[in-house]
């Protein structure tokens, strides 16, 4: 493997990992703070991708589509939290699993009814539709770099939000002590709604920006979802830092796996997970 090829794979792996982080960080926040397992998290990724496709073919611009789609997904997330998830906080995980499994079926069928079952491509924005030449016949698309950049910015913003703001402090307190937060007169319900909507929006946004690379197709969300479960297990539930480390690890492992050992690439992430379970069942950054 020469250097340029290696560099491309490295960049691809990082980009994929950063994208996974957007989905997984929402998942881990929702787990960690609200104690909810949301199997339908991948469906929001799918919704994001389809919104990007349909709105960009309507408006002719992916950027405009994304700007329109973000508020839509936030509203969707808040609505679902109020309507459905709120009833699940005190319930056994079993029912959370069942309800969110039902929600996946509903999302899949609605997608089929609204958007059909065909595969659609999404155009890369003209501004970013370029490549950086690396060697004579190898080059790297600017759009992928842009995705990585945006993901990094969002990760930094998330870090600041959680570590430095009052909302973040409440979020952290809510994770550790629900009763205490409520006794301080902080509206925990509002925090839950916000956290849930934030997680949903992050997943949907990941689906939107990745749509030009992945195309949009049925069952788009389920693979991402399960990989993100693996990310959360490896990183440790509730740990955003862990989600970042594990996302990059998985992103690189999958990318290089597909190049080096394509037959078993699909299994590598699960082997990694098994190793972590043996060695540190609470995850790399999880609390013992």
């Amino acid at each position: 493997m020469d250097f340029a090829f290696f560099l491309i794979q490295l960049l691809n792996g990082l980009q994929y990992g950063l994208l996974l982080f957007l989905v997984a960080s929402g998942l881990t926040l929702i787990f960690g703070i609200m104690g909810i397992i949301n199997l339908a998290h991948g469906s929001f990724y799918m919704v994001g991708a389809y919104l990007a496709w349909s709105l960009s073919s309507l408006t002719g611009s992916l950027t405009v589509a994304i700007l329109l789609a973000i508020p839509l997904t936030v509203i969707l997330g808040m609505g679902l939290e109020r309507l459905l998830f709120r009833h699940l906080y005190q319930r056994d995980h079993l029912y959370q699993v069942l309800l969110t499994y039902g929600l996946i079926l509903v999302f899949e069928e609605l997608r089929s009814l609204i958007w059909g079952d065909d595969v659609h491509g999404v155009a890369v924005p003209a501004l970013l539709n370029a490549s950086i030449p690396l060697t004579e016949n190898l080059s790297y698309p600017v759009y992928r770099l842009a995705i990585s950049g945006v993901c990094l910015l969002l990760a930094a913003a998330l870090y600041l939000l959680i570590q430095k703001t009052r909302l973040g402090m409440m979020i952290r307190a809510g994770a550790s002590n629900r009763d205490m937060v409520q006794s301080l007169g902080i509206d925990i319900k509002l925090i839950y709604t916000l956290v849930f909507a934030l997680g949903i929006a992050l997943a949907a946004f990941a689906g939107m920006i990745n749509a030009p690379l992945s195309s949009v197709f049925r069952n788009l969300g389920s693979h991402v979802l399960i990989i993100c479960f693996v990310v959360v297990v490896i990183g440790g539930i509730g740990s955003v830092k862990g989600a970042m480390a594990a996302s990059l690890l998985i992103g690189l492992a999958e990318t290089f796996g597909q190049v080096l050992v394509p037959e078993v690439a699909g299994m590598i992430v699960y082997v990694l997970m098994a190793v972590v379970l043996v060695w540190r069942p609470q995850g790399l950054f999880g609390k013992a």
Binding site: I37, L98, L99, Y101, G102, V106, I226, M267, P281
Partner: protein, 329 residues
């Protein structure tokens, strides 16, 4: 007849009726019933975990699918594989896989456990989807269904739908009796104790992990019986049989029927498959039949929200009896 005697005889009565069914109808409805009984075995095996051990597995299809693939890989092309050893072999493969995965997944609890069981099932999905082992995403055929011979005499030939139905019915009843017996033993009581209060069981000196692993392995083996039978019925396996939709569907059957009751799993699989047939009936629902999963999804959500004890719990509520073992704890 007093009510407890009635309750004792009812299962035998139902079993008798089911055994006579092929004499009345031996085509479409018998095959549908065969499917129900197979899924009942599958659902009971999951009930052992969810309803009696307190382990919410979302990857139970792995063992179901693995047994199907084991049969497909053992079937020698154009002649029948022997039922004598192919079924035990499939069970052993599933038991071993459950034992190994169990040792890993049982290191986790709660949400982690759900995700990890799902992830291991998905790993198996990719094993069969991405490699040539079982024909990749196209799957593999079982061209001739297994048979059971004693010397030159053919005892059972599963190509014959009635014989297959009776075998499935027999195995379903056997699985029910086995689980009933096991759950009434010291071992079963310990499992329930673990479900209700794992911490206390440990403090009482129970090696909780070993009990859970035994339960997990037994559940995997029983799911293997169901998966083997399902592969025989369809004469075909593909990665879909170990997909997470399968795991979700069987979980729905367990909850719908009423978990922690065993017979609830049977009722649940019956109700689920009936619903599936009705909702996807084009004559009744026309174009919407194609989107039957929409209605199913909504029903699943309603069950999760409003019917946590399932149909068994509903029946008990109407009879004014408290549900014996509460689900939320």
């Amino acid at each position: 007849m007093n009510s407890s005697r009635f309750a004792q005889l009812l299962p035998w009565f139902v079993l008798g009726l089911l055994a006579l069914f092929p004499l009345v109808e031996n085509t479409f409805y018998m095959q549908l019933l065969t499917k129900v009984l197979i899924m009942a075995i599958f659902a009971m095996s999951l009930d052992l975990l969810v309803g009696y051990t307190g382990l919410v597995s979302f990857g139970h299809a792995a063992y179901f699918g693995l047994a199907g693939y084991t049969l497909a890989l053992m079937s020698p092309g154009y002649e029948a594989v022997s039922l004598w050893w192919s079924l035990p072999a499939a069970i052993v493969v599933c038991a071993l896989f459950a034992l190994i995965t169990g040792m890993l997944v049982l290191r986790t609890r709660g949400i982690y456990f759900i995700m990890v069981t799902l992830a291991f099932a998905q790993m198996l999905f990719f094993v069969f989807h991405d490699t040539k082992l079982g024909g990749g995403s196209d799957g593999a055929y079982i061209y001739v269904k297994p048979s059971m011979r004693l010397g030159d005499f053919e005892l059972v030939n599963l190509e014959k739908a009635e014989q297959f139905y009776w075998l499935v019915l027999f195995l379903m009843a056997a699985a029910y009796l086995l689980l009933h017996r096991v759950l009434d033993s010291s071992f079963g009581r310990a499992l329930l104790g673990i479900k209700v209060n794992e911490h206390r069981m440990r403090a009482l000196g129970f090696p909780v992990f070993r009990y859970q692993l035994a339960s997990f392995t037994l559940a995997g083996s029983l799911a293997g019986i169901a998966g083997y039978l399902a592969a025989v019925q369809y004469g075909f396996v593909n990665p879909e049989i170990l997909s997470w939709h399968q795991s979700g569907a069987v979980l729905m059957m367990v909850i719908l029927g009423g978990m922690g009751t065993l017979y609830g799993a049977v009722i649940g699989s019956f109700a689920f498959i009936l619903l599936q047939e009705v909702l996807s009936n084009q004559a009744w629902f026309g174009a919407w039949a194609k989107h039957w999963q929409l209605a199913m999804g909504i029903l699943i959500m309603l069950v999760a929200l409003y019917l946590p004890q399932g149909l068994a719990g509903l029946a008990q509520k109407f009879r004014g009896k408290p549900v014996p073992e509460s689900a939320d704890d």
